[in-house]
């Protein structure tokens, strides 16, 4: 019986030390915007998971592609079926480091986040500019950047070339809270 208690205490201690370091959100917001001559397309996802490890400045993001909401249902279907192929590649992910994480204060600080973005099964190294605010209770990360559809092997057929932009504007906002397991 004693052994079990000891094991449990060890577990709790180990986890407790972990918990303070990490900040997580399950409802981060990612919006993408495509502006083309024929039409503008916008999609929102408010169920993005993001985590920051405050001890190392490492960051990871997981985006469920099917959670992107479009104005037109048919656009959403085509997005999932024909472009990002959500059945095969359900998630887009990012994994990297917040550069100069130690310089970030309780006021908005401009930094760069460098890492690997994986969309449609294709990975690419990128550097994203971000504004980060950090205090004891939360780490707020927000910003915007452009990405090229072609970088992730997503084809745009000629017939809709005037409807879908080659360069997509992405905006994001993650309000991380201390992560307690």
């Amino acid at each position: 019986m004693k052994t079990i208690y000891t094991i449990l205490i060890c577990f709790l201690l180990a986890n407790a030390t972990n918990a303070q370091e990490r900040y997580l959100t399950k409802n981060g917001a990612v919006t993408f915007f495509s502006s083309a001559p024929m039409e503008d397309i916008k999609a929102d996802n408010n169920q993005v998971l993001s985590i920051v490890d405050a001890s190392s400045g490492k960051m990871a993001i997981a985006i469920l592609m099917k959670s992107f909401m479009f104005k037109k249902a048919l656009m959403q279907e085509h997005f999932n079926e024909n472009y990002v192929e959500s059945d095969k590649f359900p998630k887009a992910t990012f994994k990297g480091d917040i550069l100069n994480f130690d310089t970030i204060k309780d006021s908005e600080t401009k930094v760069e986040v460098k890492g690997t973005m994986t969309i449609h099964g294709k990975s690419k190294e990128i550097v994203i500019p971000a504004n980060i605010t950090r205090n004891e209770d939360n780490i707020l990360v927000k910003g915007e950047f452009n990405l090229l559809v072609a970088d992730y092997d997503i084809e745009i057929p000629g017939a809709v070339a005037k409807n879908i932009a080659k360069k997509i504007k992405v905006t994001f906002k993650f309000n991380h809270k201390p992560y307690k397991k």
Binding site: A14, N15, L49, A60, A62, A73, N80, E81, D87, A159
Partner: protein
């Protein structure tokens, strides 16, 4: 001793936990969601018959369909292209699960209206369900003037169709549908003709690439009209999709495009060359 081993074991395990990849943490934290399977078929039709797909709320689809004459009529009829049956229709999503359609076919000047309701969805993840079920009901009214002596009332010009559409998307490129069908006609040509005909439809879609798929459909009947040499409906199609358009090229042994027609009134022998070339063009607004 045992105790010490246990502690060491737990500690190492915990250290591993803390070194765990951040993406793995996110994976574990991802809430289990209900994942509705979408796009089992590209269009609301597999070939001639309906698929389980509905138009979403407030979406309006305009469909122009064509079936030419039989290709084996030869050069004089220009392989069937001299003759054609056209159907125009508007199909509208009343809700995400209920679609209403109105159409008119040039063949026998027939008007048709239908309602299609998505009853059950195929789901993955939590509450998973292996297949999707939709219900379909239609009324068709023949408005072509009858020859003298054969006049009929409006009620006698009506046909009713009920279908249960059961479909499964096996993977992103393969889907199946089974469609038990009931067709009722108020007026039959001869007494030996049944008023009620039952059929069991089989349909499939094989995706060739992201925007092109090959479809096939077969509707064997359990009982048939006796006044004509009725055959079971067999049709093949290729779906090509671009943006809001779906373009279907069709080879069918039926010249009609509505259920009461192609399921019970087809007389073509597909493998004998009684093939009608056709197109379905759809535009969603």
């Amino acid at each position: 001793m045992k105790k010490i081993i246990a502690i060491i074991f737990v500690l190492t395990f915990s250290i591993q936990l803390s070194a765990q990849d951040l993406l793995d943490v996110l994976n574990n934290e991802t809430p289990e969601t209900e994942n509705i399977v979408t796009a089992t078929f590209k269009g609301t039709r597999i070939v001639n018959g309906h698929s389980i797909e509905n138009r979403k709320k407030k979406e309006l689809e305009f469909i122009i369909s064509h079936r030419f004459g039989r290709v084996n009529t030869g050069f004089e009829e220009f392989f069937g292209l001299d003759q054609s049956n056209i159907r125009f229709s508007f199909e509208y999503g009343l809700t995400d699960n209920l679609t209403a359609g109105l159409g008119r076919s040039s063949f026998e000047k027939t008007y048709d209206g239908y309602l299609k309701y998505s009853l059950l969805k195929q789901k993955k993840g939590t509450n998973s369900f292996p297949f999707a079920v939709s219900l379909f009901g239609s009324i068709a009214a023949k408005s072509q003037k009858a020859v003298a002596g054969n006049e009929r009332s409006f009620a006698e010009s009506l046909f009713y169709v009920g279908q249960v559409l059961i479909a499964k998307k096996v993977n992103s490129s393969l889907s199946f549908q089974i469609t038990p069908t009931y067709v009722h006609r108020n007026l039959t040509a001869i007494n030996a003709d049944p008023h009620d005909i039952f059929a069991l439809g089989f349909g499939t879609r094989v995706k060739l690439n992201k925007r092109v798929s090959l479809n096939a459909e077969f509707y064997p009947q359990f009982n048939k009209l006796e006044s004509i040499d009725a055959k079971n409906s067999l049709a093949f199609g290729v779906d090509i999709e671009t943006g809001g358009h779906v373009f279907q090229i069709i080879l069918s042994n039926a010249i009609t495009m509505i259920e009461k027609g192609f399921i019970t009134e087809s007389t073509g022998n597909f493998f004998g060359g009684d093939i009608h070339l056709g197109f379905n063009l759809s535009r969603t607004f």
